[in-house]
């Protein structure tokens, strides 16, 4: 990885945006280091695409400032238009120019630049499109269109690359391959990248850092491990992966749940105990439970079990163990759970 820890490629501070008087982005503050791949993850309508459009210059910020590559592009009344920001963007619908060939699409951003033929050839080669130059856009498959969109965005060698849900229009069977290709290309160019997605697997698998966004705010920013293992809130935890959430009242600095008693702070408050299904195992001794449903996935399976006090939990086990609804099992924790204060 060629992330330069000290150089900032982008700094957003206090960015706000609103549509028809309703604030859709509030106090957006984050840094992206040079060469880093940051994923903005969140449910649909959380403001992640608007954040990307603010950075690209397609929407107007109502407050805050933004610098890209050390140059200020949003600051009080100073607004730099999109064509002067040097930012490349891959749109969700790819936004290829339908009246141009692949080559013309890529050359569009290189007009008047010296060495444009070389840059075009390089972008085509990097995206494995060398033989596609004369093709019309509508003759291409979804995956090929996506590569053209990427080639067009990186050809002018932008300071920053923005990817708006780049895989959402692809067939699920294609997605992981295309994701791998895109990841390789981005790594090869070393270009600083911000990716927006609602797919947690996508964000966790290719990002250096993940920013979780909900209701127009960034809730947590951190490495994929931090986000998955130490989510800052129940929202983050539940969105990012399956979670059993058990509530209890804190007394004597601990909270009592059907899965055990765990240390907690704030006596008298309600705490949430978060247990990922893979942190529960079937064991010889443990908490007795009855299997109610079985969801078999191939690479593993989820058992839905009911504890004797009627609490339902999900347990992830390997794909060879065979259990049917009605079986009696014992479960226990393989890892200490996360205890959070249950807000509200």
């Amino acid at each position: 990885m060629n992330i330069k820890k000290d150089t900032l490629a982008l700094r957003a501070s206090g960015l706000c945006a609103s549509f028809d008087g309703i604030e859709v982005i509030s106090d957006l503050t984050f840094d992206v280091r040079e060469g880093e791949l940051l994923a903005i993850l969140g449910p649909s309508g959380c403001g992640k695409t608007t954040s990307l459009r603010l950075i690209a210059g397609f929407e107007l910020a109502t407050a805050g400032s933004l610098t890209i590559g050390g140059e200020s592009v949003i600051e009080s009344n100073n607004f730099r238009p999109p064509e002067k920001r040097g930012v490349g963007m891959v749109f969700q619908d790819y936004a290829l120019f339908p009246h141009m060939t692949v080559l013309e699409n890529i050359e569009y951003g290189l007009q008047g630049i010296e060495g444009q033929h070389q840059m075009t050839a390089q972008a085509l080669a990097m995206t494995n499109l060398t033989n596609f130059g004369d093709r019309r856009v509508h003759e291409l498959s979804g995956g090929e269109q996506q590569r053209v969109a990427l080639a067009r965005a990186i050809a002018p060698q932008p300071k920053l690359l923005l990817l708006d849900e780049p895989f959402s229009n692809l067939d699920p069977s294609l997605r992981s391959r295309v994701r791998e290709e895109l990841h390789d290309i981005v790594r090869q160019t070393g270009i600083t990248t911000i990716l927006v997605t609602h797919d947690q697997e996508e964000a966790l698998s290719i990002a250096d850092r993940v920013a979780f966004m909900t209701s127009g705010k960034i809730v947590q920013i951190g490495s994929p491990e931090e986000i998955y293992l130490q989510p800052a809130s129940i929202d983050v935890a539940v969105f990012i992966g399956e979670t059993n959430v058990l509530y209890g009242v804190v007394s004597n600095s601990s909270v009592d749940t059907p899965l055990g008693t765990f240390a907690a702070s704030d006596n008298g408050s309600i705490a949430a105990v978060l247990v990922r299904p893979e942190h529960l195992v079937l064991s010889k001794i443990g908490i007795p439970a009855t299997v109610t449903h079985r969801e078999y996935y191939g690479h593993d399976q989820i058992l839905r079990v009911q504890l004797d006090d009627t609490t339902l939990v999900r347990v992830r086990i390997d794909s060879r163990t065979h259990h049917l609804p009605g079986d009696r099992v014992m479960i226990s924790l393989s890892e200490a759970p996360l205890v959070l204060a249950a807000s509200g």
Binding site: G57, P81, P98, Q111
Partner: protein, 531 residues
Amino acid sequence: MIAAVRTFIMRSSKPGQPSIALILSALIVASLTIAPPAYLLFRIIDNSSAAADAIFAISTLELTLRTLAYTVTVTALATMIALPIAWLTERTDLPARRIIAILAVAPLAIPTYVGAMVMIAALGPGGMFSDLLEYDFPLPIYGFGGATVVLALFTYPYLLLTLRPAIGALDPRLEEASGSFGYGRWTTFRRIVLPQLRPALSSGGLIIALYTLADFGAPSLMRFDSFTRVIFVRYESTFDRTGAAALAFLLALIALSIVALEVWTRGRKRYDAIRIAGHPKAEQIRLGSWRWLAYTYIGTILALTLVLPVGVLSYWLIRGISAGEQISSVWQELNETLLVAGFAAIVTVIAAIPIAILTVRHSRFSLTRPIEVLSYSGYALPGLVVGLSLVFAGIHLRVLYQSYAMLIAAYVLLFLPLAIGAARVSLLQVRPSIEDAARGLGRSRWNVFRTVTAPVAYRGIITGGALVFLTTIKELPVTLLLAPIGFDSLAVRVWSASSEAFFARAALPALALLVLSSFPLLVLEQIGRRR
């Protein structure tokens, strides 16, 4: 100073907001459209007592009722002609339905005054049939009935244009669902299909109703005293110009109320609320031997609207030549018509683009709605009204009176909605993301319009131009009122010859007009097919 204005206009505006150049150009066009009715109003206020005399006369009430009855009958008759043809060509296995669909739109190339002239020249006293049969049979072709039939026969294609896509887009599953409840074909048609066709019926019907109200040539030739004929007669013969202005204003009000009525009855009902993407194409109904009835029906309509006009005009042309009548060349008129209509089409399209962009891309911007409403006023204003108000304005603007500039301006005002509508449709098909993408790749707004938006939307722009060209060559009242001295268009030639029943002399310019009008129709057909 100029540099300062320039930087102000070209100043890069904030994202999501229209640029100042765009707002200014749209505002200029829109404010021009309000000039004619405003001028008419000033004129009336100036002579308010004379105007009141004209408006509150019993004869005016009769005129209004008569015109309304005429408009309603024409619209109903045109619907009865268009609906079966649209249904047969979209939903049945009628052989050669594609060609029939094209031919059935072709009467749009024939101006209604040519249609009226053809009826008179064929069936009237001394017409082709009495000529051939050597017997003068008195057919009651003049008056209300004749005018109604002519108008319906030559305007029904407007409904065909709105109905055919609507019928093609019907979701057959809705009809199947109705059938599954045990309802027969007729009940299903009445309760499920017809309500879904309502938007197409009412928008097509509105076009025909407004056309009928505004049409001047056909009722005049058919000697039916419609509003337009009465206004023109007052203006021409009695020099009661305030009376003409007052009646013109009343006519404009009636037209506007019809538009308002259509908007109001359309209401908030939705017909597309639960449309699911990619529904199956409706199964074609097998006509079997019913097809002969269908052919007879369509054949009759096409015989009346295409074969008869061309046949009658040719007959009179040949008869005129063989009788040694002086048939002067129409080369000069053809050239002038072409030049003026071409120029009008180009200017109208250029004027329409900023407004179309504003309505499609900046619909939330505060000035968009008023600009849009103003620019659509030409849609409701009859040509005679626009022409008259410009004639009155010409009294003060002598430089412009009877100039080509004023003539073209009148065409632009009248036909702007056609060009805006066509440009809108194709702009709506340009995804905003490709414009954003182009901006992000380093291009300015103007550059993006030139290299991306316009090339992608060119079909709509050409469609608008072709529509304006077509309507301009057919246009009569504005051309009559505002023609510069020495300007002789094909329409004026046809009119002056046929209003005095010189059929042989009218035949050649009328035929030339039909040939000229068929070119834009061919362009429209080609563009429509490539979609």
